[in-house]
Symmetry: C2
DNA sequence: TGTATTTAGTTTGTCGACAAGATTTTAATA
DNA sequence: TATTAAAATCTTGTCGACAAACTAAATACA
């Protein structure tokens, strides 16, 4: 799909949203690399609209921490703060835990249905060996759980952390095991669904912590390996 | 200070920030009531600038959850979601705990100095019986602690929760005890400072939880009393 | 009198333009 | 040649204007 196809007959009020969604997607999928400058005029031409909706989208993305607005200078895609990644992991683990706990308490039948639907799509991506899809759909699965927990404050922070995690995972996570079934993540997700459905708060907390720790450890392992390689070279 | 005094000779690039700060302050101090519509043109005239920086400020405030942008309709000051306040209290309590714990771990001498400075100003407001000041300066004190904890994700959520709390407190918190010294909040803050300085994580966690629970209980008491009064009428 | 429809009046979303500030290029000097 | 100064170019921040969408007021109709 070329960008010029989108230019005509877009409804009023959707311009800024379209730019926001487009840029967000490109940032999270590393089409736009961390540190890369974003030129408003260039974007305006590419998406064939004026700078006003572009600007609004950039301001919103800055609120999400995805871009950094340098006053009177160019806007850049936010850098990933590698020296302080442990703070990211700490917050991510805590949000995994509290959202899953709250899901056990506050979910209803509709929530379970939504969660199971996300899990099914996630499993498809795993079977297909679609790494990028896995990363995004794993996010959607946990967001569905957080939504069942009903706490908008946790949901917002967790969404943001999972988004940031998408960038990190795409940099550091390569399929480090054979595409064998049953896949460990699928099994873990199933266990979490069962604990949520059983309203077993303590098991939810334990499973969420284990799940989070495993993901964190995997990223750290890859990062450590990557670091060693850099040193050897 | 009248608004017209601010119109001339403001530096380029500070317009949107000025509007943001002004509106934020007015919203948190209930000068602009929840649900009140915000007219862009009126604001533009009042702050004597064009609608563009006004709009940017509103988009940022919407990102903070302080205003709600209704597409093609007026922007309104966000309502306080009273039916779901328990989720607010839950998140607030958790953030009190984790930020204070992290402060115990990661603070340095400069952080302690900043925290003590905020506590001193807070104590002044307590002695002066300045309720509005107390609410804001109590926020600043805990933000200083969160900053010492170094986790930007917790800091952002906590700041947002404390801001939202400012609105709730201004609606529901009236000085329910005589201005006697030593004031319990001052004492509790001192105990928290001591535990942070001693790097005693467990005590920090306990004190933060007690502190949070006390504030939550106090608000809930006032709300319950308020509710009874409404029923009696 | 109450409801539906048209009309008039606001308010927002987007646009093109311009000037302040920053960046790059060119010229000047040691 | 290297360093500094000036000029030219580019990018952002702000502005005023206009049209789409919404709101209300006025009118028509049952």
């Amino acid at each position: 799909m070329t960008d010029t196809e989108d230019q005509q007959e877009r409804k009023r009020g959707t311009g800024a949203r379209f730019v926001y969604d487009t840029l967000r997607d490109e940032i999270l999928n590393l089409v736009l690399q961390p540190g890369e400058p974003i030129d408003e005029i260039g974007l305006a031409e590419r998406l064939s609209m004026s700078r006003t909706p572009i600007r609004e989208a950039l301001v919103r993305l800055a609120g999400d921490g995805l871009v950094t607005l340098l006053p009177n200078r160019s806007t850049v895609v936010s850098q990933i703060d590698f020296p302080n990644l442990h703070h990211f992991f700490d917050a991510l683990t805590l949000m995994y835990r509290v959202t899953t706990r709250l899901a056990a308490q506050f979910h209803d039948a509709g929530d379970l249905q939504a969660i199971r639907a996300r899990q099914a799509i996630f499993a498809e991506a795993v079977i297909a060996g679609d790494t990028a899809g896995m990363i995004q759909l794993n996010r959607d699965f946990h967001v569905a759980i957080a939504e069942a927990g009903r706490n908008p404050y946790y949901l917002q922070l967790f969404s943001r952390l999972l988004d940031e995690g998408r960038r990190i995972l795409r940099l550091y996570y390569y399929p480090s095991f054979e595409p064998a079934l049953p896949h460990p993540y699928i099994q873990e997700h199933e266990a979490i669904i069962a604990a949520v459905a059983a309203r077993d708060v303590d098991t939810c907390d334990r499973l969420a912590k284990e799940h989070a720790d495993k993901i964190v450890r995997q990223i750290q392992d890859v990062m450590a390996r990557d670091l060693r390689q850099n040193i050897e070279i």
